[in-house]
Symmetry: none
């Protein structure tokens, strides 16, 4: 679908130097993340964000040249958080069961702060170097991580297959977490347990197939 947007260089207009400006930028990003998560892209207006952050609209634009660059800043921060979670959850030699358990647990935790944020950032919010792009740096690293973990549990299949398995796992987890968040069920232990069971079975079977 889509061929939204293009446009080249939104960045940050100026690096916040003083403590005060750092706080402003932080407040804006945080307020933006909350609004995006709670109210969705349609309600994400720069005035509302500035308001929620407790700063004037002028201050927002002092640091972010336009709405898109603010989105980008929020995205960057969120994706960094996600990647951090993923990087720490797999270690060489970790048994499948423990890996899956830890991964799902941490993933749920990561999405519990701003439950709607991930989906909005991936699906709704426009992006100039489309993170919707299957080849975005984020997606590449994200999936590469899964692929490596998958590969370590199954030695007799092709790389292509590993990549597909990684996709399935990543997207299934995403779907379950996203919809659970939407229903307000992200905290329910059965969701986590069943998700762990499904992924575990799939990955375990793949490992011995």
């Amino acid at each position: 679908m889509s061929t939204r947007i293009a446009k080249l260089p939104p960045v940050m207009r100026k690096e916040p130097r003083q403590a005060r400006s750092k706080a402003t930028v932080e407040a804006v990003i945080e307020a933006g993340a909350r609004i995006l998560s709670d109210q969705g892209w349609a309600e994400f207006t720069t005035n509302k964000v500035a308001d929620a952050a407790g700063v004037s609209i002028g201050s927002l634009y002092q640091y972010f040249p336009d709405k898109l660059s603010l989105i980008e800043a929020i995205r960057r921060r969120h994706l960094d958080d996600c990647l951090a979670v993923m990087r720490k959850s797999w270690k060489e030699g970790l048994p499948v069961a423990l890996f899956v358990e830890g991964l799902v647990r941490d993933m749920i935790a990561a999405h519990s702060i701003h439950p709607g944020l991930h989906r909005v950032l991936i699906d709704e919010a426009p992006s100039f170097h489309a993170s919707k792009d299957p080849h975005s740096a984020f997606e590449t690293e994200y999936l590469g991580y899964y692929a490596r973990a998958v590969a370590s549990y199954r030695t007799h299949e092709t790389d292509a297959a590993n990549h597909t398995v990684a996709l399935i796992i990543s997207d299934a987890i995403d779907g379950v977490i996203h919809n659970a968040a939407r229903r307000g069920m992200l905290a329910e232990p059965q969701v986590k347990d069943q998700l762990v069971r499904m992924i575990g079975l799939y990955l375990g079977e793949a490992a011995t197939a």
Copy 2:
């Protein structure tokens, strides 16, 4: 997430009785679905839809009192399509493997017409009787269907567990299909095969656990 909107029940201003009216309404809904799917919520403007449908903006408002009711009509039609698919894919006595195979196949087919539509309708578009609402009629029937199928394959666990398993399956399928669509991979057979394998394993194991 979300607590968008309030506003009570906009319906269809007048039921189209004559053939011409029906054609107009149909054209508007179809044009709207296409725009929503191809260009996303942000590009979905009433004037654009009217244009694409080849009717005047005035005519559009003759049949849909406001934008929300147009969305609602599109949603209704799309969800009906989904339910139809689901209703026909499970029959008493159908072996697990065939059921899962058919379900995934038909689900992918249903989302191949307007690949972006489902997600936009669920996640982006506002809704007055929130279909995002876990208790929406659609979601109830949708999940109830899954729950019945699940129940038929496992006799010794509680209803609550059945419901959770149904959720996991439904949401995992949704996640995989949605992300595959986003990546333009919806037609690739490996995606279908691996998804079938994962769901099959999970449901099969649940059936005998």
Copy 3:
């Protein structure tokens, strides 16, 4: 000086078909010309123009995709007026004295309607296919006209010299008219008489030099 603006295609969003919309467009252009002439570029805001035209801001944007395209429409109309004046003031065989007299008279008349407009359009208002550009179609035709008239009165000098003489005459007339308008002296007969005398002397002398 300047390297203002670039940007490619502002045009008119839709041709006014009905009488009502033609009146709207006409009112907007006329109000815009008046504001530009009387208050300058800095005061030329789309809201003010819409107000002065007695239409809503939305109506203005129904026909002009942006501020620039409105300026362009005003410019086009004004320059057409100027060219019309010029085309009719010179005929083969017309004696120098009569030509200069007629030219200055008509030029003053043309600038008496919106005294400030010409200068604002040339100097202040941004333009995407810079009319400030010495090679703009307008300037080319404008100066070409002068050059032909000049050439017809002096047969023994080069084209290059003709072009320079044309420039001097055109710009001197422009300077006198513009500054007289600024001072509210455009209607004073001595201004016209002295200007005619200066240009007549110069062109007459050039003719026999």
Copy 4:
């Protein structure tokens, strides 16, 4: 045209006493003149000027209470330069030809430093004691100077006529120089030569008419 502005007399907030203050004020005025000349009124923002001058926006406002007073300072300096040029170009007994030659040469030189400045200051920039005002001190002195020179070359006509002739000469020179600057032709000798010829003819004829 114009009746921009009202607002009473903003002046310089404090006279710069120390060397550093003087340098700051000087830097601001110079930076402002360059921006005005090179980029036009629209790009002339106080923050940009402060930046270009290498001082903080706060410092700028330490010396200039508002934007208008900064413009006024730039204008004052520019007009002083012009008057200086004019004062030195006419001396009792100077032959017409030499006077005109020197005047035009010096005028072109004066406008070559900041080619766009003069016009922007006269035409675009707002002014609280309108220098556009035909009765501004500057214009009075400026034209008075021309009138005296004119008078010295023609003894048998009225003051009123002298004043008109002065106007014509001043404004024609202005028009030619301004438009030449706009076209980047200010340095071309033919422009100067032809302008000298036209003014010389006119003033010489007036002297003997």
